[in-house]
Symmetry: C2
Subunit: 288 residues, 2 copies
């Protein structure tokens, strides 16, 4: 006899789960490019979601890690953007370039340049290894300080300008400004944190406090998905970070009354729906 | 038999007690003006210290509360500065004007104008009734929000610029920026808090934690002196806010081992020395 359906369990799905504006735009551009040409490449995986990368590969769109790849007919720049020098080098190429850099990231790049040109010591709050931050760094002439939650406050100059990796939590920024203002005479902050990231984190936090278990759906290599999972865990809620429905284990729902589902900005709707579907095969519930 | 000398008590005086740069400059300018002309007036009391005002009066320098006072031969603008409109009106007067506005306040006025002209919603952190803040307000075309610790966070526009009354504690600024950055896209802060205020508060706090009783010397109408006294009281240290040595009561030193003396930015050295002297008549100690 198979597992019994667990009646009486409520499933709630975050309204803001899944693709943000910039990711949806980029993925749409990639699928569209696939219909129009061959030899379509993305510079790096277009988003941090292995399932979407695999779907694109089936349409003939592949990641490459260099702009000098001889196979390139069309090159798609992903949401994270690229360093200024790479943008300039692309002008010399004979292939088609599709710029799917998130418009919010593009703005943050412009702000980094504006601050640098304005004589500010530029501070980038974020993860120095993240491609978005590497791009921002180039627009600050590679002279910025990159700080995240774990970095001790360095010695700052008297005139400091700040941009933030778009997917960072606002508390990192709050903490930085309240410390830095002690030490500087002028502080100019562009709060480049994407609203959709902030709202998704807030909604996830509210949801996690009301349910027995959280499912966070998205790439294990997606920083913002991992951030959602960490948030839930830090609230003391049992949390499962899964990439696809196939990872769900039956006993995860034992003794559970309410389940919350959220997903990172790079998780496509069909994967979230798949998780929801797999769960509804076992339980009843409603979309929250 | 008079009171016994209380041997073994240590008296420590804050290095940063008394006149700050701007106050010393203004008071010097007033005494200097007195030697050179008659009918010398200050627009409002030149500093918030009744004893200094009285000394100046003996030299013929008197406060007036209007620039239209027919008796004026020379008018001295005090450290707090004056509103833009009053500055403009003074250009039409036939008497001599001596501008003793603190250079740091002048800078804050320029920053307020810069922010206003730059399209920022200007926020002034400080006391709306304080003459310095009234001056700053005028340079923001009277369109600024004035906030202090007790004000709930208002609805902010997306582009906010901040200046601070020079004598405010830095915690007010820290609290504001860490709250505001949540709600705005761009935040430009001129940390116009005078270093001397910040350092005096820090030194006073360190001192208060080490002594049995604090004496805070300065005008009862001086905001920054009162702030020092409040700080000491909030640390749970017995604190006496006195204007002159004559207020010291003998039993205030009963059972006391260590005494700390600090003073506001508008307290002249001779009053601090007087307090020190009066105390040394009773106890032994050293300058800290």
């Amino acid at each position: 006899m198979g597992p019994q359906p667990k009646r009486g369990i409520t499933v709630v799905i975050a309204k803001r789960a899944g693709f943000c504006f910039g990711v949806k735009r980029a993925v749409d551009m990639a699928f569209e490019a696939a219909t129009r040409g061959s030899r379509v490449f993305t510079l790096g995986p277009i988003i941090h979601n292995p399932q979407v990368i695999e779907q694109l590969r089936l349409q003939g769109v592949e990641p490459t890690d260099t702009i000098d790849d001889d196979r390139i007919g069309t090159l798609i720049i992903r949401t994270h953007g690229i360093p200024k020098e790479a943008s300039e080098a692309l002008l010399q190429k004979n292939y088609t370039v599709i710029d799917a850099t998130c418009p919010f990231v593009k703005k943050a790049q412009q702000y980094a340049k504006l601050l640098r040109d304005g004589g500010y010591q530029v501070v980038i709050l974020g993860d120095r290894e993240h491609p978005e931050v590497k791009g921002l760094m180039s627009y600050a002439d590679h002279a910025a300080l990159v700080l995240n939650g774990g970095t001790p406050m360095p010695r700052l100059k008297s005139k400091v300008g700040v941009v933030v990796q778009t997917t960072q939590p606002v508390n990192l920024l709050r903490h930085f400004v309240s410390e830095a203002i002690h030490h500087v005479k002028e502080l100019k902050v562009f709060n480049t944190i994407c609203n959709s990231t902030a709202l998704r984190l807030e909604e996830t936090e509210r949801m996690a406090k009301k349910v027995d278990v959280m499912f966070v759906v998205g790439g294990k290599n997606s920083a913002n998905t991992t951030q959602l999972a960490c948030l839930c865990t830090s609230l003391g809620i049992p949390t499962h970070h899964i990439e696809t429905a196939s990872e769900i284990q039956v006993d995860w729902l034992d003794g559970v009354q309410t389940v919350g589902i959220t997903a990172g900005a790079s998780t496509p709707d069909w994967i979230i729906q798949d998780v929801e579907h797999r769960m509804r095969q076992r339980v009843r519930g409603g979309r929250g």
